[in-house]
């Protein structure tokens, strides 16, 4: 049977995944700390019907061969860790990371998770936690009678406590960096986990060794660019359409072949 049917089918498959990814990006256009994903395509292997460069019976060399490709496939879905825009919230526990790095949190399973969605809260014990209640690592506890909290760009957290003239230093928020952030596993809930591909995290103070700095009272918005996603959506949809046309054409050819003998 004609290969074109399956070849165009792989093209449709790939575009379907592409649309899935675009849809997820668009759904997260207002998710703080969200990083957009990008689908990366490759062509599939080729079937060589005649190799270029071989000698023909008359002693000539075949200048070009016949290669027939088998369509396209998805090579990778890459997270694009570009900086998102900042939004001022004036909330004293909202922080935005300006530059590279992730906050480290302890997940309920005891494993470490990494996030850039830093809309932090206080739990009943005064511990600083994420919106899902995961504690920061290293953990910082805010005393009960605190009036205001200040977070310096270098990560130092200090609190102004009632009846004390000097602010009290509570600890330091550390940032984790990865050799290959695109290799992190997305866990949902704006969390990422370490994998073999991402390499081990290197934690340290913000502002040191290429780590970003912290900005109190701001949140990092999603880095999804709606215009870009819309263009990708149009292109993806049209590519899907043209692939379906190729399937139709191949189908018509088969139909004609079947109709030779009436």
């Amino acid at each position: 049977m004609i290969r074109a049917l399956w070849t165009a089918g792989t093209g449709m498959n790939v575009q379907q995944v592409n649309l899935d990814i675009i849809a997820n990006n668009i759904a997260n256009v207002n998710t703080n700390g969200f990083k957009r994903s990008r689908a990366d395509f490759q062509d599939l292997m080729y079937q060589t019907l005649r190799l270029q460069g071989i000698k023909t019976g008359e002693g000539n060399q075949v200048p070009t061969g016949i290669e027939i490709g088998h369509g396209a496939m998805l090579a990778a879905v890459q997270k694009v860790f570009m900086q998102g825009d900042f939004q001022e919230t004036q909330n004293e526990l909202d922080i935005a990371i300006e530059g590279n790095g992730f906050l480290t949190v302890i997940m309920p399973t005891g494993e470490k998770g990494y996030t850039r969605s830093c809309s932090l809260k206080r739990d009943s014990d005064g511990k600083i936690v994420t919106s899902d209640g995961y504690a920061l690592e290293p953990s910082i506890t805010i005393p009960n009678n605190t009036i205001s909290i200040s977070i310096r760009p270098n990560g130092t957290v200090s609190a102004k406590i009632a009846n004390q003239s000097e602010p009290q230093q509570l600890g330091t928020i550390e940032l984790a960096m990865f050799p290959n952030p695109s290799g992190l596993k997305s866990m949902g809930k704006s969390l990422y986990m370490e994998t073999d591909a991402s390499g081990s995290p290197i934690t340290g103070k913000p502002g040191e060794d290429g780590r970003g700095t912290l900005l109190q009272g701001f949140l990092e918005m999603s880095n999804v660019n709606v215009m870009q996603e819309m263009i990708n959506l149009i292109v993806g949809q049209r590519a899907y359409e043209v692939n379906s046309k190729a399937i139709q054409a191949a189908d018509e050819m088969l139909q004609m072949a079947n109709n030779v003998r009436r």
Partner: protein
Amino acid sequence: MLKGIYRTLTGKAVTERRMEMVANNIANSLTPGYKASRPVFKMVDDLIGSQGESAGEQPAATGSYTLSSYINFADAAMVESGNNLDVGIEGDGFFVVTLNNKNMYTRNGQFTLNNEKKLVTMDGNIVMGEGGEITIDGSDIKIESDGTIYVDKKYANKIKVVTFDDKTKLKNYGRSLFVNEDVQAVEKTPEKYLLKQGFYEASNVDVIKEMIEMMSTLRAYESYTKVDQFFSEMMSKLINLGRM
């Protein structure tokens, strides 16, 4: 028997291959760095078939088609991605990646880093620089138009870009890679090229061209079918002649 019906058969086989090529181009219309394959037809005079016929007779003007293909290495549009590890080549040249200790060539400049901080393709194949494998350890990455990489304002390596005198010897390997199977062809530095950081090269498939190609292929196939039907009718008439 009528010979024509076998000739339409070769024509149909060739047309099917042509359709498959079009389908592959269309399937890869969004694959970065993909280069479209184009079919080539040659008509071969059917000399062998005419030898048995009486001397002085012209060889039958029917021919069997042979199909070959070539890769169209024309530049494609640059897409701005803002990703600082995306590199597009403007002009002649290929990136060099290693796969099973063999050099492969690609125009897909969507790179990333592996866990050893080496520059790799999305498949994890190592991208070669002038000074061997490229290690990027730092956050401020600047790639100049000649491929020189500065990490944190210090020279790190230079991305190797090569080309060949005769690119028809390059073969598609799949996975956006090209392989050179001609031992005589040697890598050389292209005369004119520009690397653009934050961009990647799109596919050079022209969808309009592919649609036209698809339509003409389909119609050619239809014509062959019509001729087949005509031959079939003729033969049917011949067979039924005796019954009249």
